[in-house]
């Protein structure tokens, strides 16, 4: 019977299957999908909070605090045109690469040389997104970065509260249980730390306010099999602080 089947098969042609490329592509696709979902959720929550506060805050109230500029080699995130946004994407990628090297000298990108940031133009105004695999002392995981508009007054767990569905309409699925904590970078820049959530991969999410009503989100995960995140919370806060310090 075996022989019959082998005769039927004949000589198999050369395969084009490259398992390493398949795995790399799958990781990239899943990271992008996770980031896009988060970005959409953040944008929706931000808009909902902004609408709520604009209806309840008196006119003329001061806007929320943003990170203060501290360095001379700062750049501005510009998104008026696609070309401007592309330039800002390159600057953001360089700033993040510098930030990772300064905050975690042992970290290396796999594959190098750094993180690639792309423009997200399906939201208005456009945002930026990128993801890269980091290797730190034998641990590997992904660092995903997003920068986008944040119109709510200030960034804290209170402003991140999940918007309630309209009366008479129930949510289609239960909210994902996530823990939120208001934290600060070593120099005191306020940030929000989100932990927990679906999926086997361990990780956390850090959001830091940027100038010009924007927020930067860093998502740090570990290996696919559930190992610890590739960066500690303290390291991620340091990375965020370095990166935010470059943006004016």
């Amino acid at each position: 019977m075996h022989q019959l089947f082998d005769d039927l098969i004949g000589t198999p042609p050369e395969t084009a299957i490259d398992t390493r490329a398949l795995v790399r592509r799958d990781r990239r696709v899943r990271a992008t999908r996770r980031a896009a979902l988060t970005l959409t959720a953040v944008a929706a929550a931000g808009i909902a909070v902004a609408v709520f506060t604009s209806a309840t805050t008196p006119a003329g109230a001061p806007p929320g605090a943003v990170a203060s500029p501290t360095r001379d080699d700062r750049f501005e995130l510009r998104a008026a045109t696609r070309a401007e946004a592309e330039v800002s994407a390159g600057q953001l990628a360089a700033a993040l690469d510098d930030a990772v090297r300064a905050a975690v000298p042992a970290a290396t990108w796999d594959p190098g040389p750094g993180i690639r940031i792309t423009v997200i133009d399906y939201v208005s105004p456009p945002g930026w997104h990128g993801s890269g695999t980091l290797r730190v002392a034998g641990t590997t995981g992904a660092l995903t970065v997003m920068a986008h508009t944040w119109t709510a007054p200030g960034l804290s767990c209170a402003t991140l509260s999940t918007p309630q569905p309209p009366k008479g309409r129930e949510p289609t699925k239960p909210a994902t249980p996530r823990q939120c904590a208001d934290v600060q970078t070593p120099s005191g820049v306020p940030a929000v730390l989100l932990t927990g959530g679906p999926g086997p991969t361990q990780g956390f999410e850090l959001r830091v306010a940027l100038p010009a009503d924007r927020v930067m989100t860093l998502i740090v995960t570990g290996p696919d099999d559930g190992g610890p995140p590739v960066l500690t919370t303290a390291q991620a806060l340091l990375v965020a602080e370095h990166a935010v310090g470059r943006i004016r």
Partner: protein
């Protein structure tokens, strides 16, 4: 994680040829066979951490591959477009061993996807009745009856199993 990945790639490399052959027998098209195996490799990698600890990686991989094939058959476009990758059959001569494969190919084509999978898992990939039933998610009795029916058709086509 790098060690995990290396272990995974070594595992796949050792079985890729067998998986491709099994997939080809199921679908009869090398391009589709490679697509099925690629999809199975991705799914296997997503759960590799747990699968390797459970110690049943081979059975799991085979199950994923068979499910990929059955899912592929359920896709809508298959009902609209059907491609026959094999050339027209040449004249059949009993004394020529190589043409024995033609009745087998006809038989495989005439079977439903699940029956075809039963035949291949049982008689080419050498899985037991219980393993085949587990891979396909059917009862062992179903595997036995479908395998017996397929063998009967093979004998009727004068192919000696």
């Amino acid at each position: 994680m790098a060690e995990l990945d290396d272990e995974f790639h070594a595992f796949v490399a050792g079985r890729l040829d067998r998986w491709r052959r099994g997939a080809y027998l199921m679908c009869g098209d090398w391009h589709l066979a490679d697509d099925l195996v690629s999809e199975a490799v991705i799914r296997l990698h997503r759960h590799w951490g747990k699968v390797r600890l459970a110690g049943n990686a081979d059975a799991y991989a085979q199950k994923v591959l068979a499910r990929c094939w059955l899912n592929e058959r359920r896709r809508g476009w298959r009902r609209r477009e059907r491609v026959d990758a094999d050339p027209p059959s040449p004249e059949y001569r009993m004394e020529d061993r190589i043409v024995d494969r033609l009745p087998l190919a006809d038989l495989l084509r005439s079977l439903g996807p699940r029956q075809r999978a039963v035949l291949i898992l049982r008689f080419y990939l050498d899985h037991s009745v219980e393993e085949t039933a587990d891979i396909l998610g059917v009862a062992p009795g179903t595997v036995k009856s479908q395998a017996a029916r397929a063998l009967e058709q093979l004998r009727a086509a004068r192919v000696t199993p």
